[in-house]
Amino acid sequence: MGELMKERIEKLREAKQKAALGGGPEKIDKVHQKGKLTARERLDRLLDPGSFTDLGMLVGYMQGSPGDGMVYGYGTIDGRPICIYSQDATVQGGSIGMLHGYKMYRTVERAMDMRVPVIGIHDSPGARQVRLTGETEMPEAMVVEEKGGGSVFYINTQASGVIPQIAVIAGACAGISVYSPALMDFVFMVDKTSQMFITGPRVVKSVIGEDITMEDLGGAEVHTAISGVADLRTETEDGCFEKVRKLLSYLPSSCDELPPIVDTGDDPYRLIPELEDIVPDDPDIPYDVHELITRLVDNGDFFEIKPEFAGEIVVGFARLAGQTVGIVASQPSIYGGALTVDSSCKQARFIRTCDCFNIPIIVLIDTSAYAPGSDQEHAGIIRHGAKNLFALCEATVPRIAVITRKSYGGGNLGLGVVPGMATDFVFAWPIAEWGVMGAKESVRLFFGAEILKAENPEQFLTEKVKWYRDSFANPLVFGSRASIYEDIIEPKETRKVLARALNILKGKKMTRVPKKHGNIPL
């Protein structure tokens, strides 16, 4: 080995060692004191051990900004390749300078070229502040390159629907570090240590005079339960990484592939007699639809998305016969399973996510219809409800629906079981009720005067409701007059029926009218 080679190798080793420490041991201690992990520790824990390949770690090294506040590269999760970046809060606070932004952009671009998922771990206040030094030279932070921080929105948008994009929020994030995640498919947060806002409490106070903490402004609870910006939160960063790994197990690496098939060991044709006891006959008595979902899917394993937001609809991933399915289920124990502004957004988003990634959808219906009232109307239930209708009518993945009990009014439309809305199979349980409104309301509407005149109005109503239910709100009567249902099934057969339907739908292909893109109501 020549002298120069020897010297350069030594210098390189030293540089890499130093760069791997980011902002240095003191700043790393500070990160740990906050109960957080460093950018590199996060990668080690999320990825398969030893699988991470570092790219561009020496960028910014000579300028005293190792990696320019970002670690990026590629690795594997459960042996499947992914591209990833992790913002390093120990270097310039994790702020997004030119090189940092470029690395962010390139991670997404590369992932899209390779057709593999991209994961971004965010811990950044956003664009780097310009340090005014009094010098006449243009400060680095003001130099804008084509592939940089701001333009990451462009590449996120191009990658949307091509590869899964997953954002982890692992610190107080603002600016680019919240809008880029918002353009991705999933946003996961860590309780108490991560926040998202367009701008922090200090600016909020000075601009509009509102006093608010970071947590109350944009903490994990705010975004998972109130705003719906984030999909779920975990207590710890490790917990969050576990969720990311699990989520990826349900998804294909790109839209060109089908989701991985897993041998779950659960008999797809298993009969489930206890389903007969979960849904009460009386449509006014609620039950938790999770009880139904976990019994139907393989090994009771259900990965819920947005569990705390708009609980009247439950969405998430599971497997049936080893195949990934997206579950969309009305939740009778919250808001009567009604369709609301928030639930429409949640449902439409989930349906489109499934449609992007070739994931068949199973719809479980027990809904009182769209939620009425000024709250909903003024918040635009028509516009948001239409978004949901659009998503249902646009999706081409296999879709199977089971009406377990109520499907009143617009609920039929909002869950796509009206014939012609492209649900491939609609099944009904024997107590399924179909109608513009429920039995009691229909009787009140048509026999209002007679009820008032009756000797015993309560008894008259009960008898009329029973008569109505037997004669009209009865799938046997309804289903024999029109071909609404593919079949009326016993609850215990549901899993078997779904598994068979999924199997025949495997090769489903739909073509659409060629156009630029539809104009989904937003």
Binding site: I226, D284, I285, P286, G311, E312, I334, Y335, G337, S368
Partner: protein, 70 residues
């Protein structure tokens, strides 16, 4: 721990008063929404330190209903 309303609706019965001891799962009140009567249960054991709603009252989603200490 505050118990918030998971949905908008009308309180049709309040089963607890300040000072009552409750166990996780006890029904604190009944909330009617979309004609369905929903039991709002205690998320943990404790003592009721505040009841912020009365029968007949309309509540919004996430409105605080009851505070449980302990």
């Amino acid at each position: 721990m505050v118990v918030r309303s998971p949905m908008p609706g009308t309180i049709i019965s309040v089963n607890v008063k300040v000072g009552d001891s409750v166990k996780a799962g006890d029904v604190l009140l009944i909330l009617e929404s979309m004609k369905i009567k929903n039991e709002i249960k205690a998320p943990q054991d404790g003592k009721i330190s505040e009841v912020l709603v009365t029968e007949g009252q309309y509540v919004k989603r996430r409105e605080t209903l009851v505070d449980i200490e302990g």
